[in-house]
Symmetry: D3
Subunit: 296 residues, 6 copies
């Protein structure tokens, strides 16, 4: 196999796909980031995640210990993210930067918790099958995905590179819900079932919005730059008002506006503005009267 | 960070989102439930799951040992579920109740196996890519999701709280198929590919039904109670007859009836009854003849 | 529980669902195959996967060690796959066969890498949110799914049974993207978001094709054999030309042709040929003007 | 192998060597007890054991969390020990008993720590190779063995069965130092190197005593009861005064007294009282002048 | 570091210390052998080792499953041992040989259990601190070391290379008791405390013998062959009669005989025959009356 | 438990026994050091430790990869050791120092291997029970203990604090052999069985020396400084010439000299010089002719 080993190791073959690591710099770790999410969940929803027995007396110890672990692990990963991005040299000054960003993130946890409380209420009220807030927190994929989104969004606003994206992808893989950390989402947000939901980088969602599985808030066309490549970061996703419901598998594309209180039925393709209070639905489907084989 | 720790620990902040655990009561464990599913699979399909070498001589020892482990672990988790629900005080009498429910579940395994055998046949017959029953059992996400559903459904009928939902969510996360444990599903049931399938709590499915990926059997609107909240547990999902096929990404909503032998094409929104033998399909799609840019 | 144990162990009950293993033959291991995929990824994209510090000096050692591990583990699993299929007796000659197939696979890695390089470029160019090739390789589910597909496809062409399917299902579970190893896919292929994508066994995809989430390239109807069972392996999936874009949640079924440069809008059902350069979109959706309750 | 399985399962063959477990009672777990020891060490010597970063701010959180875990795990194991002993029926009342004993143990931790502080000083002062207290705490087997002894002794005095013995054996296996939990040992106690040291159940050791490796404080002869069996629990081990040193590999047997300030040389057999201040040593060893082969 | 890597890889440097492995041959695994010992202990002493709940109904399933696992794992390791030894080519015929040896070992388990029952009784009767047979089985290092010895001895008599030695070393590391698998040991054998005990390859021990910690039954001088190297395998260790007690730290060397009923005191060197019924003790130790410093 | 938590957290209680860690400094990790030893063993004895398949082709990859891992992990641990010692502030300059020391250690590996080759030969020649060099390398505790010693000694000579001691203690715990890293030991060194052997910090051992289990080369008395504490680091252990054998359980104390070719019998106490070629043995032991009970 010597020739294959040689071939696979040729530097010129490796353009763009080999990541050389500096001396004391490691790649962000999906495993550690999984831990970080788990710790953050246990801070946001004490007693639901983590094996420990929480009660009024012990609560503060759990919070204290988890905050300290979070600070330590998150600073590490933020540093790895900064080094990966590589816009600055991966020097020791990054340690301080990373420490500060981790701390700034932790400062936001009480606010993040307040928002997530509204999401829990929305999920509970929105699902006749939900038996209790506890069941919603512990089992509902929407809560997991929205928690990861709110965490990732906060980190992105602190200019942490790469890490928010990985945290979002972890929720995507776990729940099938893909919310870009750059999206802006209001309170009382919920997603039912959720598999296949996509919410793009520049999407904006108001308060009290409910999405069903398979809904896309995506981009349609990308203006190209002079070299023929898509222009990065351009505003290209839907803006959703307050009190909107979008049913399963509908696809909203482009920088369009959906007005307050609109209801969008399932399985439709929307690439134009939708006025407030509108109710959209798919054209009625013809029943085929003549059909030969066992299939359509 | 002391102020943040204090803030995150304030009891009044924690309404609805903190779960206090009693002394010797632990939360249901997703890890242990994963084990329980694995054990149950190894009982239902001996030789496919679990590392052991099964043959005619050793079979009974494997079955015996796994039944005993299942009884022990399941009783624990059922107790945790009962305590979590908290409608009864989490006393030691729950130990006996949990033991009995676990045993009653195990008594149903032979019947569950018989049903799953029909599902395996349906998956094999329904997929020209399937090479053998063995491949179907070992690899097909549908079999994993339907197994979890049949297990969760049996537990739910024994009035086990929370645990069935977690087992269903485990399959949802693994396969993208979200079947509520409360649904009622006949024999020879199969789902092809499956990502994005949703089957709601009060859905009823006859025998020999095949769903494709992205099919929703969901709820459309929820009657509200006097306080303006959705009424829990109301009958709100489709009833599917026998010998029905529903193609990819179609969304069936509400307590509607789809008659025997109906075939529903893909990407359509159905919120009215479908007569027996009907064949529904989406309106033909216009080809746009005039279109400037690189996109639609 | 003795009677249940007896009942679960009755041989006649176990037809089709019990896998008896020979003496020194083990089932393919999902865990080991996960390792194999991880190793292969670390060979294809050095420095991104695996914990080690890669640089020009150490690269060849990493490549060398991983090639050796891959050879060893893959040969084991291939043998397990051959024994599982059971068309040949699971003799020791299979050891040699398995060794050879593993080696032949490894010989193809440089070519697989070249193809994947084009996929990375396509994903980067096709997503305005992508910040760098590195981010694409490390985080994008499309790259994970397409890597697994290209690995599984190469193994299938070496007549390795079962293993390719398991590798494809691993990506399916992780990403929601289900690409059958038998499909044929050109260069510069990308999938955005990806959850719910299905690409069938006999699908053929040209160069520079982009799919969005929820796109199905599936089968519509299966000719039956004399016994009324679907004929296995028949050509039944779409053929997609070069430079094609298919938007979210569209379902293309049957052995149809989509010509070069076609653009297919989202949420539509396509079961007829699409000419080159065509642009298809869903019928416009009526806004319902009259609607009573809070829902559609 | 069926006949061997039958034979190994015959109940009459299993007298005295089979332990039947009740329904919800598990054996004490060596793994959990290892955890308990680790937690206790981390409470006694904060910052040395356990991965967390300790400082003045975070200290109380660590202590709080570990006390809670210790209470929970220890109560479980104490219950298992009580059930194993089986003098009471393994009812739920044991839960309360076990909780109380665990709590009573934790109440003693501050005193145990004070005693261990004196042992650390003794080890440091007694070894010219010791560089710091920290090195002694972190590396010296004597500290590990004496910690386990002081923990086990406290549990034994609370009438916890079996568990103290297991904790002592864990130190024995780790360090080669075998101190029975029943022994009584004063302050400023140290053992150098320690492999092979044995301290019996009814041994009593004063303050400021130092033992070297291989020293035995054992029993010599056991009075028999009428049935010819040794009488259990009789006082049969040495009583050592204050300020005593015993050199390597000496064997002190029986209920003898070694007076304050005595020094006992290595490799000697002592089965009579040793007066205060005495200095014992082995008879001088003759050099053999005539010896044929390569050996003695 | 390239030059060091080169240097460490030079083949001529590696004489005698590099083990080249064949293609499908792995080294014996200390981890798997640890499992094998654990399984065997759980077969010999049901209910004490392993997490399962044993009772009359479930016993046979546990035995059945463990026998099957033992057969499988042991055959693997025996093959690895045979390949390591390398007196035969490591062909596939070794699979059959290994299977047979594993089976022959399992056939002996009932007899090994009978012998170990006598050892448990001896340990219990010989230690006034022992509270029950259960405590002896679960905690006493002697039982662990003697179990490993009896297992290793049985394997050695089946001409299994290397594996018995590793099993003995595992007990040595765990307990400090080093019994060569080649030694011959009768019933009702016990070792108190045990650290430092050594029993050589050609030692023979009668029934009802008790050793204390630090006792050596070793070799004194080795006849050399013509090349000046010790002759391998020659009979060179003590032969101990029935009903003998040897106290702590005594060293018996050479092919000497110790007659029935002899009692040998501690800390003595014995290289001559000891008649039946003799009682040996060390010369009395002089108390030094004049001694200056703080030490001897 | 709040009062206990408070009490255990009082800073004044924690003098000398609490280790405060700096921000990005972690304690040395026993687990990582275990890895480091395992890696080093796999470099010194390729093919024996580690799961990989070594042969002439793959050897250099294994060596390369392990050298890189060793460099990385060892530098980390050395830094932790330097910070623990705390004589310098734990700044980032320590990273460079630690890197250099790790590299300097690796440079010595070829020489360490050469010495260990002589030790393997000595162990093989010195034990008639040894079947092959391979068995000696793979199973003999002496080789494990001497390897750890030679590793630890090299690190100590590079002024690495704490780490060498931990590595020595790991071997002590595993084998019962306690060699201080500061000792100086020649070639062809072996220890038979080994449990209880102690070799002190300032001991010097020539070439071709063999020790048996329980041999101590220790210190007898320590000169005190003005404060009454032992003077640290003083020369206080035996100096052993070439070609010396010391039998089991003998205790040599103090800065004495044992001349070339001396043979020292077992169980004796030696605190005076032993001339070259001398053969020492214990006084003959009287057989007691009159003895009442069942014991001595």
């Amino acid at each position: 196999m010597q020739h294959i080993i040689q071939q696979l190791s040729e530097i010129e073959q490796l353009k763009n796909i080999c990541h050389e690591q500096g001396n004391s710099v490691s790649m962000p770790s999906v495993e550690v980031l999984g831990n970080i999410v788990q710790i953050t969940r246990s801070l946001l929803f004490p007693g639901y995640f983590g094996e420990a027995a929480i009660n009024e007396q012990t609560l503060i110890y759990h919070i204290g210990i988890q905050v300290e672990r979070l600070q330590r692990l998150l600073a590490q990963q933020i540093k790895s993210g900064l080094c990966f991005e590589g816009t600055q040299s991966c020097s020791e000054q990054l340690d301080t930067v990373a420490q500060q960003k981790a701390q700034a993130f932790i400062e936001q946890l009480p606010d993040i918790r307040k928002q997530l409380q509204t999401d829990v209420v929305a999920a509970y009220n929105g699902d006749p099958a939900a038996k209790s807030y506890g069941e919603v927190i512990f089992c509902y994929p929407a809560i997991r995905a929205i928690s990861n989104y709110r965490i990732a969004h906060a980190l992105l606003q602190l200019d942490v590179p790469l890490i928010p994206r990985i945290i979002a992808e972890m929720a995507h893989s776990e729940t099938g819900i893909d919310i870009h950390p750059g999206a802006t989402i209001g309170n009382y947000f919920t997603i039912d079932h959720g598999t296949g939901v996509v919410i793009g980088e520049t999407a904006v969602i108001g308060n009290n919005v409910k999405l069903y599985q398979g809904v896309t808030l995506g981009a349609k066309s990308f203006p190209l730059d002079e070299a023929g490549n898509p222009i990065k970061g351009i505003d290209r996703h839907p803006k959703i008002g307050n009190n909107v419901i979008i049913y399963a598998n509908s696809t909203l594309l482009g920088n369009i506006h959906v007005g307050d209180g609109a209801i969008i039925g399932g399985n439709i393709w929307v690439d134009k503005d939708v006025p407030a209070g509108a109710k959209l639905r798919q054209n009625p489907n013809p029943t085929s009267l003549h059909s030969a084989g066992g299939n359509l």
